[in-house]
Symmetry: D2
């Protein structure tokens, strides 16, 4: 019996790949059809095992790839494994804003035919370079933020199609509701070792992510109060068996507060001053601004670190409040991020949309576009088959 | 604002203690009444943050404590923190069987008035020492295994009461059903980053632990088949919405197999040979013998390590089977063990039972005894209050 | 102590009214503001307790009302109670198609200022009468079928606004998902006295209604297979923990088949021939055409009536199939219809929309319109308050 | 195609029999083995379709049967159908206490070899008759009340075995938890047409029945508060996700109050005086004494009947309280009783226990006995098979 020796980055990619069944099927298809033969794809994406599999699959489809990550999230062992496979990788975890700008320029210097963008950074750089602009056929944009930037800042110059992945309702259900719903509950349990049944959770926000989190908690036996300003969402929460209240009404009731609204300063000084001793705070929204950590720090007379992901803040009153994962998105910061299969779907939408740009991009109208309906349906069908 | 600098062991104990509300209340009571004033308690228990809190609380109640752990599970940073508080701690994580025997003798050399035992090791050593035996008033036994040993091997010599904690139905519900139910599902999610909804789980065993695991999985949207030989338990599983099948019928259907039966060799060669490619195996039973890892290793032509807790075994047929946490109890091996609040209850039963031995031990009949009903009820009442 | 003697129709209206909290609040508002003062409203609506409350509330708001029901559904005791309150009521349960046409003409002969329509019958009659057409300010339409008819058959003539109630997403969630979800499961249990846990249900269609039914069944411990052709809905069903299959695959597995697709001939001869002995069929879709009852009758060698709502069909093979409520929508046919509170919401949307036509109809564009967003939000807010 | 004409009583028996799969299997076995050949069984049991099937099956096993029901519950159409099959049936629905005593005597006058008793009435009558006593081999007792009477009143005279069916833990799970859990929720929905999601339920008592009801309600999206004095049960309720409170704390919160404790006067004047306007009361306990209906009547200034199963009581304060099914066990009074399959199990335990008395009664010790373990297991196995 042999023992396979594999670098850590590659081992993690392999584990992900085993379970990315949609991407595996797409890979077989791309290997046969080579939709990207002779094309260069410029990619900006968090560099971690699951997205790395996407790069490998695009390469199997004939693409040359120039890749960079986002500041602070690049996993160096994964980057190394990709570089060893011949992908041009720019950037390291230690990079800051200015290194990121340089990495973006390096990717664009490859004169990509297609871009996979994340926050519209690559498109911005392409538009600033006449040669790159001339060559570009179009691309995809991962984020809603990037899509807004395309609409607001680059509307006039955008003479190529950009398919916006995050707006797919399919992705909202699979990745936001089910992926985040599971990941946040798991990360809370793992970081704290606390019991979920009977615990008082206040979930602030009942969009796809909040709904997924609240339902997972309730089905686990927790008592859940939802805070939601939108009347229709609030009503759905109530019919789902949740109690809906104003945040001010449940400050002393709540034992754990979860922010997932997309807005800044949701939990702030006025709230911290009234919470019960022992309250635990965590954020599941994309940005770490939902909990005003600075106020918390200012209010406290002493802080104490209990583990990598738990910091305690003691108030003058003697009460303590505990903050998880520094207020960063807890499923990413304190655990492995969204479950592999839920990301597999989003990455499959990326792969199919890039291939659409490569093979029939000239049929698409310029500017931001939704994921074509047939791609949504095909990927849904593939995930269905993978789950049967 | 100050920043409190705390050693890691003590920090983890403090985090646990914040959430051990029953033990905190008992601590207040013990501090006032000092039930153990002038007494020595010999303790054998896994040395980790939650049990360490028990030792502190006993010390607050006036006890001198001599403590040892079990081979391989002692957390050295926690042991250090306890030693700094004046508790006599014997043993380190690196200890093997023979060091453990020495540690037991060291504890008994303190001539304890009371023992908190774990597998009847301390009682065996006490019975072997005339002076120690003369002094002992009685004790508690954590495990069912230890209780059986008392009944079978020491029945005649046992002239002191031993309260058996694990047989309390209260503990079965709280720690086995809810504690293990949550912990195993969390550990699976954390170790694998796999999606639970829609996944095919085969849970083997529908006792308190198996029931807790299967219900948690189903409520999370998993598809669960239960394997259970006891007809009445099997019927309960079916009415709970599970499908009940023979293991042989679901070998190719299952994606994840969970053993939680208490018996050896549940998953073995004949099963490995027929499982689907990609099957994941994990054990949630107390001993690691439920999955026959040796057979798995023998069958495989290549193994690959994906992370600390995932090992892949490739068969000659090309199929791979993945084993989590080496077949050890996954909630302990791959995560923080049972949730703090569920252990709080078991430790409170310990604390109250030890105090009963100390204060009214002469009213109890000798030999193994169930937890007195009034203690069960009082601790249930305290947990109820803590959860309100 | 007195005993209040009330006719049955009024007693049932009173019971409904106690629980129509939104309508009660609207009633207080309408009584004060009299939005319909001096106006006549022509109403076509199933005449039963909950809709009768709507008529009373409109009358409280100052309206004169001329009302007719739909053929075959008018509850005569309720009609009587309304007539006693001064509402002009046309029609009886025994009415057929031709009586219905006459009733519609009678309502229109009141020259209504506003119509509350159900299938566009009143609008068609108004458009056919020059004087009525001249007077009409606009109206509401309850059904999607009626809305389609307005768009297809009357698009050119429609020079007044018609607010379409059924398209409100709020109504879809509350009445379709939760109302029908509860009502169908209740009606099944009541009509059959069969156990839901562990039973094999095949739910055909995973729209709002199907989702509500399937989730209710699963949460009750049933085993649920969903049949759904739309890939995205099917994927959501799978992630909700359902199994998704083709109907052909589960004909012998299923014990109960539920149709809720909106399409005709879903269950038909080819299926009946392969179903297991004892299969139970029920329809939850709006029309009774989803189960091809004629084929079932033709196939059978003997029929047997077990109760008002259960008919058995014995096949030549000896197998029997049982049909509930003659294939009519089971929650209406075999029980009291959608729960009062869920209908309260839909009727409140009606009441508010009619008041909008009365007071600000001239600001609205002609033709079919969605429920104004502020009305959706206000009614959601009122239901939230009612449920707190 | 023929149309089978069947009397109503027989049609209802046939519908039940289709779904009593365990009884059908036992019937095949009894037909072959004739365990009751030449024996007379005296039966006292509610006469309704499901129990009628038991009588038929015993007859198929060779028994001559003399049957009577309980006062007020005999369904005359079913009694008629049984009589037509040659069973000696005594009693009608209209019977009172004194007719019941006569019916019991009539059954005993058949000098039964075995009795199936319900409340120990038959045993009492047998013991009073020397000839009957001499002949009797033993019997079964359906109720816990009857078992207590056997132990307390007849302990000395009981020289034959009586197997007590209701104490079987198997029956507690299947019939009490799942059967009553479903039936009560269904009956509430059917009687009131009210929405369950988001409604505030107070469930008083968390034994097997209360647990089944509370879990069904919560899984349907209701908000459930449990009132339970036993600390261990209360703790289980909390971990199941329920809120546990004293009744006094939730009198104004509750919208629906469910009694299921087995004790009298649970809801009484002091509670009625403080409940919110519109509170709905229902009883799911065996006796109608749990709600003090007399006090309610005395307190009210006016009563109003809304339907067969809803009576309103208006207080001087203007508040109204609504009582369902006169305070009788709602699943029986307002709907078809426990689901057929759950009763099938209890009746199968009866049938197998009677056969044990017939064939091996002399091996059993005299007095009340639990259901033999092998019978429990065999019936569990049969139900498992029936549900697969």
């Amino acid at each position: 019996m042999g023992e396979k020796k594999t670098g850590l980055g590659r081992a993690r990619m392999e584990w992900a790949r085993v379970h990315q069944r949609i991407m595996n099927e797409i890979c077989r298809d791309f290997s046969a059809k080579r939709p990207f033969e002779g094309l260069t794809i410029g990619v900006c994406l968090h560099v971690e095992p699951k997205t790395a599999v996407l790069c490998s699959v695009l390469a199997e489809g004939g693409a040359s790839i120039a890749l960079t990550g986002s500041p602070g999230t690049t996993q160096d062992d994964v980057a190394e494994a990709l570089a060893a496979d011949g992908i041009a990788v720019y950037g390291r975890r230690a990079d800051g804003r200015s290194e990121h700008a340089g990495n973006i320029r390096s990717v664009v210097s490859h004169d990509p035919d297609i871009v996979l963008d994340n926050g519209a950074d690559l498109v911005a750089a392409v538009l600033a370079s006449e040669s790159a602009h001339r060559r570009l056929r179009g691309g995809t944009e991962e984020t809603t933020t990037g899509a807004n930037r395309l609409r607001e800042d680059f509307a006039r110059e955008l003479d190529f199609p950009v398919i916006v992945i995050n707006d797919s309702p399919l992705k909202s259900i699979v990745e936001n509701q089910f992926g985040v719903g599971q990941g946040v509950v798991e990360a809370f349990m793992h970081a704290t070792n606390l019991m979920v049944p009977a615990k008082h959770f206040v979930v602030i926000g009942y969009g796809f992510c909040g709904r997924g989190i609240a339902r997972s908690l309730r089905s686990f036996g927790a008592r859940v109060v939802v805070v939601e300003v939108d009347e229709v969402r609030a009503l759905e929460a109530v019919l789902d068996g949740m109690e809906v209240r104003d945040l001010e009404e449940v400050l002393t009731w709540g034992e754990v507060f979860v922010t997932v609204t997309g807005r800044a300063g949701i939990l702030r000084r006025a709230h911290f001053e009234r919470m019960r001793d022992g309250a635990v705070l965590l954020n599941a929204g994309h940005f770490s601004w939902e909990i005003d950590v600075e106020s918390l720090r200012t209010l406290s007379v002493e802080t104490e670190t209990f583990s990598t992901d738990i910091e305690g803040f003691r108030m003058a009153s003697g009460r303590s409040i505990y903050l998880l994962a520094r207020g960063e998105m807890i499923n990413l910061a304190a655990s492995g991020g969204n479950p592999i299969e839920t990301m597999d779907l989003g990455l499959a939408l990326q792969a199919r949309s890039l291939a659409r740009i490569a093979t029939r991009g000239d049929e698409l109208s310029p500017g931001p576009l939704p994921v074509p309906d047939d791609i949504n349906r095909e990927v849904a069908r593939q995930m269905l088959a993978a789950l049967s």
